[in-house]
Symmetry: C2
Subunit: 231 residues, 2 copies
């Protein structure tokens, strides 16, 4: 989002955010009506969002029906990687929306029309790779996960606080690389909690599959919780 110095800009930004929040509520009602738990994944480019889905979706198959909305500025690469898993996927390329640096509720709502929501239990929404702007927009999700790779450094939760404040779970990814880095995992954990003391926190490597189990259990709990709250 641009800075908001003038009064007219503040008014415009406020009205944009209010319109977004109305559309987010519509999305949330659609998810509830269809019995779908929508999980928004945010993080920097290369934080490992698509790799996480590639390792998770096969593990969930048989017990729940998953679908994916993949957000990118350009290319359909992520959708192609997800489609190879045999689950429904819709690619949102924000180039047609002015190269937007995040997903908005309206863009997500339009894309939901292309999915059979009643045929899903969980919808993963892979946001545009950006640790800043996606955190500012409610897209109607039931839960939000922030991914931070160990290569990004332990100071990042302090430098990008909103992404961690607005998430229910922090996933520290690419832990297989830790032996080759100078990263301080204890400081990283401490910095996440300094910003959001009650956030859940898991560490994993999609490559080695270490730590994937607790993340899958978290997804199971979220999906079960959103089904219970409707019954």
């Amino acid at each position: 989002m641009p800075t908001t110095k003038g009064k007219s800009r503040i008014e415009i930004v406020t009205s944009v955010m209010q319109a977004n929040d109305r559309l987010a509520e519509q999305n949330r009602r659609r998810f509830a009506a269809a019995g779908v738990c929508a999980i928004d994944l945010i993080g920097s480019p290369g934080a490992g969002k698509t790799s996480l889905l590639e390792v998770s979706i096969p593990k969930l198959s048989g017990e729940m029906r998953a679908g994916v909305l993949a957000g990118d500025i350009a290319t359909t690469r992520d959708a192609e990687r997800i489609a190879a898993l045999g689950v429904p996927v819709v690619q949102i390329t924000t180039e047609s929306f002015g190269g937007a640096c995040h997903l908005e509720a309206g863009t997500v709502g339009q894309s939901l029309d292309k999915l059979d929501l009643d045929g899903l239990d969980v919808l993963f929404i892979e946001n545009v790779g950006n640790l800043v702007c996606p955190a500012e927009f409610d897209i109607g999700h039931n839960a939000r996960v922030v991914l931070l790779s160990v290569t990004e450094g332990e100071d990042k939760p302090l430098k990008y606080p909103l992404a961690f404040l607005e998430a229910d779970l922090a996933l520290i990814t690419k832990t297989d690389l830790v032996p080759h880095l100078d990263v301080d995992l204890e400081a990283l954990r401490r910095n996440v909690r300094k910003i959001h003391p009650r956030i859940e926190l898991n560490m994993l490597s999609a490559r080695s599959a270490d730590g994937v189990g607790p993340w899958i259990d978290w997804v199971r709990r979220k999906v079960a919780g959103s089904t219970e709250s409707r019954s």
Copy 2:
């Protein structure tokens, strides 16, 4: 930048960009008058912008006088790391500008007042960690460098094209990690050139110092070029 669907939003965004471009020209004139070459560094969180400066500034000392503007949403960590090198540094925290996800020309201009520009030959501007939004704003720089770490993956130039289109040099960082990754460096190079065929491209590791020489030579050429164009 938010999406621009309504006419009034398009007008606002256009006027914001025009105001930015005017202020960018002012900055550029100040750099020229002071004989300073301003180099804007953009890239994702953790792409290695601060580490690059930590390894480069000591190598340039004795032959040119360097200063740094460090942009972040929150914290003064980068400025502290740079100050340890004994060069003038000003930290811009965009939290006071609404948590902006990029530097704008006006913000940079205000920060220039805190530096003795006449005492510098090169000013490194470390933009906010974000591979999307900083590329949209001219801040009056003489050259722009996009950093992409090998851990982010070879598809990123295609997914974040504007950052590569708007840069004069692409620096592929953290090459010491290549043996531990599945990244395809040849494809990465090809993808950078597909977006911007004439961009300069270097690979380096700030940690091992491999490849730092050609980058330092590029800085020397840019600084010499901007001095010549004034004499």
